[in-house]
Symmetry: C2
Subunit: 398 residues, 2 copies
């Protein structure tokens, strides 16, 4: 069976050149990078080269890059690290309602530890209003953290505008750029941000390698204490092959980013315009200010999980922002935040394209997707007279 991978926002296969670059560091240049002998020094050198290449991708300096093991770790580090470093100045944080769980749940942990958090609303496209950020800032505010691009609805936030406000008010600004770095050009200088999280597997690098940009001179309390790795700011024996892989993937992303965008954006646009011909389907997220490979919908009368399973049966691999598929049995907070009612949020589906996506793939998809919707609606009890069934949700059905 033909298989079409349309879940690039979840993760990606490793680029073969990246794997090639990593291989010598498993068994040959295996030494501990802190050691004084050759296999260790080669490893240390490789880490510093990777740091330079990783920094280049976002126009940062090498010393502003701290490697972590995941975007989630980088996000936890940013929030807790800045909160603890600045708690004497104030104990107020501002985030948006559409942050990733690694930001949302860390914010909730900090609330339990005596910090106050403002959760900013978004408009129907999922965009944060910079004026709302400004209004939310108090004398106690020590950190603003706004996602750069939503993996669930694709919307790109006006970070540069928000950063002007943050600078004016002297508040530190972090952005979770896991879904954006490597997929669109990201420049920490022109964005004007202080901290930024990103992950290698989002741009064909390895899982287990991610990084946080911390602007020179910014104080941050470690999340992981221990040895002197990463300048004493993130302990643990370095995952050398993964870091090397991140460096290589960053280099390739920097070179190829425009080519990748030019390839996937027209295909994505085809997919969207075809999908929107289906009856009672809504594009979620911003129609223009969105990730180039990102298409997300809510399909009325249908459950996300059923869609995913039937699509998978046809060889199409994608994701649902619906809570049922993530086993949490709660409607997605992102979809609720953009005004999608809970019962409709169950019909969420997200297609994300990658550099391997072909026109053939999209043609096949365009043919298959409407057929699956029709089939599901035929067998769905909801499709007949759904309207007015507020409060229905997948938890009720289970």
């Amino acid at each position: 069976m033909k298989t079409i991978y349309l879940d690039h926002v979840a993760t990606n296969p490793l680029n073969p050149e990246v794997l090639e670059a990593m291989l010598p560091y498993f068994r040959e240049r295996y030494g501990n990078p802190l050691s004084l002998y050759e296999p260790g020094m080669k490893a240390r050198e490789a880490i510093e080269n990777a740091r330079e290449s990783t920094a280049s991708l976002i126009n940062a300096k090498s010393k502003e890059i701290i490697f972590t093991a995941s975007g989630a770790e980088a996000n936890n580090f940013a929030l807790k690290g800045i909160a603890y470093a600045n708690q004497n100045k104030g104990k107020h944080l501002i985030i948006s309602r559409i942050e990733h769980h690694s930001i949302l749940n860390t914010a909730r942990f900090l609330e339990k530890s005596g910090f106050a958090v403002t959760y900013l609303p978004v408009d129907k496209y999922g965009t944060v209003n910079p004026e709302d950020v400004e209004k939310a800032i108090t004398k106690e505010t020590i950190l603003i953290s706004i996602i750069h691009a939503s993996p669930e609805i694709g919307t790109i936030e006006p970070i540069a505008e928000i950063s002007k406000i943050a600078k004016q008010k002297g508040v530190v600004l972090h952005t979770d750029a896991v879904a954006s770095v490597g997929n669109i050009p990201v420049d920490v200088q022109s964005l004007g941000i202080d901290l930024l999280s990103f992950a290698a597997h989002q741009f064909y690098g390895p899982k287990g390698a991610a990084a946080i940009y911390v602007k020179e001179g910014m104080r941050i309390v470690p999340l992981i204490y221990g040895g002197i790795q990463e300048g004493g700011r993130r302990a643990g024996t370095e995952n050398v092959p993964a870091i090397v892989g991140m460096g290589k993937a960053a280099e390739l992303a920097r070179i190829n980013i425009q080519k990748r965008i030019d390839h996937i954006m027209p295909l994505r646009d085809q997919l969207i315009s075809n999908a929107l011909k289906i009856d009672k389907i809504i594009l979620t997220g911003h129609p223009e200010q969105r990730l180039p490979g990102h298409a997300s919908f809510v399909v009325e009368y249908i459950e996300g999980e059923a869609m995913l399973l039937l699509l998978a049966a046809k060889g199409i691999y994608c994701a649902s922002g619906s809570a049922c598929s993530s086993k949490a049995l709660k409607a997605s907070p992102v979809l609720i935040s953009i005004g999608i009612p809970a019962h409709l949020a169950q019909g969420s589906v997200v297609f994300t394209l990658g550099e391997d996506t072909t026109e053939d793939n999209i043609n096949y998809f365009n043919e298959t997707f409407p057929q699956i919707i029709s089939r599901l609606r035929e067998i769905s009890p909801y499709a007949k007279g759904w309207e007015g069934m507020e409060g229905s949700s997948c938890t009720v059905k289970k």
Copy 2:
């Protein structure tokens, strides 16, 4: 030049079978393990198999294993996670003075956050006295964390005895077993502990894969918040290849552990008895209760870094517990704790054998090491009339 790797406690080359097991998860079974389609489900299945094998190595249940990215992360998670989960019961922790930096520095962070920490002394062999543990426990004590085996001096601590006391008093017990798991049999049931940290690269598994054993029913606050990975206790897209590698390495360690010990222990004993023929050299750590591949010394009149460099020039790769080599410019707290004066602690050197170490290697070492000591003593200003030079240290010299 012949090279002899005697720094197995720092890290290890990946076992070729382990690499083989990992390879399909980079580009073929690359899917996100939370997804509902085949490449993701294969990845999830592989993680659960790895969890079972990893659990088996320490006689735990699969659901008692939480994967992390490093031993340092596991140690930070244990201390902060148990402290935050139990702070309503009390705010007192007990650790030893010879803990790894990832425990020591996390304890210091917790002290700043309102917890009290008792740092237990050790005897001249680096052994914690279980009676000292008992005496240190108060009504406020919520956690005891004692290292299982010291990577610096090799001493194995009496964890089973300490666990009896902890159980009697109803205090949670964690052990940092990074240096021991995979090198000696470790059984969480017979040790009677509640939490245990270990890392794959210590037993020929990959860097970037480690785990914490958390006894069934034990509440722990996450260190990394986010998605529902690892039962909601450790977020972040799983590093599937590394986890698969840890599972394979655990399987091999479980099968081969006695064979590995039988191979390296006689070689290590040869190394020690030969080295002890050198004038003014001290074996650090316990003479019997020590890791089977571990030999550590303090060589009077000599600086560790100089030893490492000359040994490396002869193809012998090893480590120094001395602070100069780790760039921290402080004498090792472990050596100070066992009563080695600061100026002697600079002459620390650690040799750790592995399954690849041969009798030829040790013969070459036994020949080379005394020559290097002689040469260094010839050129050392300290070697002539060192006695009485208390207070001299590498910080003074720099």
